[in-house]
């Protein structure tokens, strides 16, 4: 894995900290970035695709893709979980992005984030966006610094989009960490950091700020890339029927000792409901193991964990995703407000292969 200049990490860190954080308001610099980048697209053609709702909404910080050697699971290592009633608030954060189409020089994109809180049995949400911006346009490169992103020559739209999303997501996580006390903060993904998209300093700060207010950060990953040979680590609990945890933290750290990526959370495989699915669960590793288990037990006793997945996080995911009608609305807004001209993208596969193609283009 290549090492990235520390300046990138530093910039994002500056962005999220310099901005005055108030939940319910978007950072001014973010809005400025959107407006300035959009202004540069005025009069351009936007080539749209019918399958535009392929989204980037999973936060795969666990960039590690290697196969692990975990060995056999001893039943004595399995921690049985019992839901514990608690007055702790639960907050979940999720974001998603979408590419609305290709511009002559770059892409038009949208970003949306959601924070869902559970306090005294009542769910409440704040949804941010959609924020509309263009990426890849050379004229907008200078605007990235405002978000704490330093694009290099290798940065394509995909990478930039992920970084913009991470900026917002980290800002939301920090906002929640600062405003919540003694709560359980749920993050979609893992607590692995150290990539250019996800600088470890940011995550460390987030965890430190959360701890300061006695919050526990729990990251739940739907799609972990940690594998034992060819099987997902979540398969480790397939024989266990009740709610339980399996602590695989030491085994993983032993195998990733020299990696530039940092595991800032204690890694478990956990099943939070009897009939639920198992997930990779990371909990801030600066708190004691027992407190991690207590935090997860309290989550089970406070939030609904139907199918083993917390309701707050599920709702945050639902609220942040883009539906096809969202995309249509944003495209028409872009046409009417920003003067872009909507054109369907040429169906290359259809032109070449007709009905014998395999991609979406042959179906439309």
């Amino acid at each position: 894995m290549t090492r990235h200049p520390p300046i990138i990490q530093q910039s994002i860190n500056e962005f999220v900290h310099e901005e005055h954080i108030t939940l319910g308001e978007l950072p001014e610099r973010f809005l400025r970035f959107c407006h300035l980048s959009i202004e540069n697209t005025r009069g351009e053609c936007l080539y749209t695709e019918p399958n535009v709702t392929d989204q980037l909404n999973s936060n795969n910080y666990d960039a590690e893709g290697s196969s692990l050697e975990v060995g056999a699971v001893d039943d004595t290592e399995i921690i049985e979980l019992t839901p514990t009633r608690s007055h702790r608030s639960v907050a979940a954060i999720d974001t998603s992005t979408i590419r609305l189409g290709e511009l002559e020089d770059g892409s038009l994109c949208a970003l949306r984030g959601a924070v869902v809180t559970l306090e005294r049995s009542h769910y409440n949400y704040t949804r941010y966006g959609p924020l509309i911006f263009s990426l890849g346009n050379s004229a907008t490169t200078g605007q990235f610094r405002g978000l704490g992103i330093v694009p290099n020559e290798m940065s394509n739209v995909e990478i930039l989009l992920r970084r913009v999303r991470n900026s917002l997501e980290r800002w939301l996580q920090l906002s929640v960490s600062k405003s919540l006390a003694e709560g359980l903060i749920l993050i979609d993904g893992s607590l692995t950091a150290g990539t250019p998209d996800n600088p470890s300093e940011d995550l460390k700060d987030l965890l430190r700020i959360a701890r300061r207010s006695e919050n526990v950060v729990i990251a739940i990953s739907k799609n972990t890339r940690l594998r034992i040979r060819d099987r997902s680590i979540t398969d480790l609990l397939e024989r266990n029927s009740g709610p339980c945890l399996f602590d695989i933290d030491d085994r993983i750290r032993n195998q990733f000792g020299d990696y530039p990526i940092k595991f800032l959370g204690r890694i478990f495989v956990g099943k939070l409901a009897r009939t639920g699915f198992p997930f990779r669960i990371d909990v801030d590793d600066n708190i004691l193991r027992d407190e991690c288990v207590d935090g997860i037990s309290q989550l089970m006793g406070t939030d609904i964990v139907d199918q083993g997945y917390p309701e707050t996080l599920r709702v945050a995911h639902i609220l942040s995703t883009f539906t096809s009608s969202d995309v249509l609305a944003i495209q028409s807004l872009a046409a009417s407000k920003f003067g872009v001209q909507l054109l369907p993208k040429i169906a290359l596969r259809r032109s070449l292969f007709g009905p014998f193609g395999t991609g979406w283009e042959t179906r439309y």
């Binding site: 709702t53 959609p130 509309i132 539906t323 609305a329 028409s332």
Partner: protein
Amino acid sequence: MKILRKEGDSIQLLCFPEEDVEKGDYVLIRDGARDRALIAQIIDVQYANIPGILEDLLRDGISEISLSGEDVDPFRVSSQIQVLKDTRLLIAKIRGALERNRLSRDVSWLPSRIRGHVEVTSPNLLTSGLASKHPFELGSTPRSGVVTSDLSALDGRLNIITGRKGTGKSHLSKLMVTTLVNYGAPVVVLDVNGEYVNLGRSHDSSAPPSPHILPLIPGVNLRFSLDQIGLNTFMGILVHALSLPDNSSRIFARIWHQLEQQNALTMKALGSAIANSDCHESIKDALQARFNTLDDSGIFTNDHKAALNLDEVFRTRNSGIALVVNMKNQPAVLRRITVELFINKLTDLLSSQRLKALFLFAEEAHLYLRETYWDDIVTRMRHLGMFATFITNQPDTIDGGIYRQADNIFLFNFSNEHDLEIVSKVAKLDGDTIRMIVRELPPKRCLAVGDLVGNFPMVINVRPLEVQTLGATRYFFQEQMAVV
């Protein structure tokens, strides 16, 4: 509005929330720079099937039920999403075209989907081609204050007014009757509920009753002498209205001829002749029973002055008259006798050219009109100059063939599938339009089809009448009904 697709004579349009359109409206689909437009009528308004709408609604549903919260939406995209969610799909039928501002039936071309412009148009554009010699203010539409047609579109035509009870059928027929009379036309109304008798009176009865409306009550001022009606008509009543067998009718004809030769044709003499006849007892009983029925009806008189002279009535009141035959509370057999007599007399007047033409309005005709008369009225009598309008709330009582031959049809609300199926046999309009529009018509609003509306089907709020109409459905809980 934007054109989505066209299939056959159906065209689908996308309609955005700020555009105000409802069922029955007409739209012009202009073909870009070319001076022509398709004329289409909206027959259904649906939600547009926007991709992802299910997910959106489910998400909204979750939010509404168990969540509270706020949206920080600096670009105001949510308002755009609301627009999309409320976008409607209009199903329209192509009815004609406009070429260089002239109505045309050539719809073999397709307007440009990109350059085409869709706009709601006033129905007056469609009726403008009708002659305006005898203007007839039929009512109004949401797009136009007044829909004016030409009364000549009822002349020589067969018309049907049908719809559920209490939807305004009689109201429309009364409007047509009074308008025809105002233009000097002779009109006969076969009124089973006695609801046309006050058409000559103003709302507050302040003005004297109009001499142009003449209520007739069988046995009171609607009476005929035997020599006025003749053997054929009398025999027709015995055979068709009172089911007299053939053998008995031959005996009766013999008795009639004998009295006629003796110049003694009176009801009393007819009764005595039947009683003293030397025919078989069973035939005598049959004749006696029917004679008693006719005699008891009071519709026959020996007094020539008391008898109604239709010839004279139409001759003296040639500035327009409506004869309202009030058959309210009459037994079924008397209704049949009255109608048989009346139509025979009218046919007589028309075939001898003593009456040029007349308009017949028949309410619930199945109650008094024998089956063989239906075809007679729509074919032979039409050629003689009797132009019928049938009014019914039971569409299946009118033969399907009559629906196919009707020149004007006024459909009020029907919700029953069976009724809708029957009325959808109308030749001048497709079944889809009838099913989509008629099912949701409110009271006093009808779908008019045919010559009267230039063969452009039109949803019309029927004009109020300025006379006493009676006949409105009577309710026990009148106040509550008014509120509902």
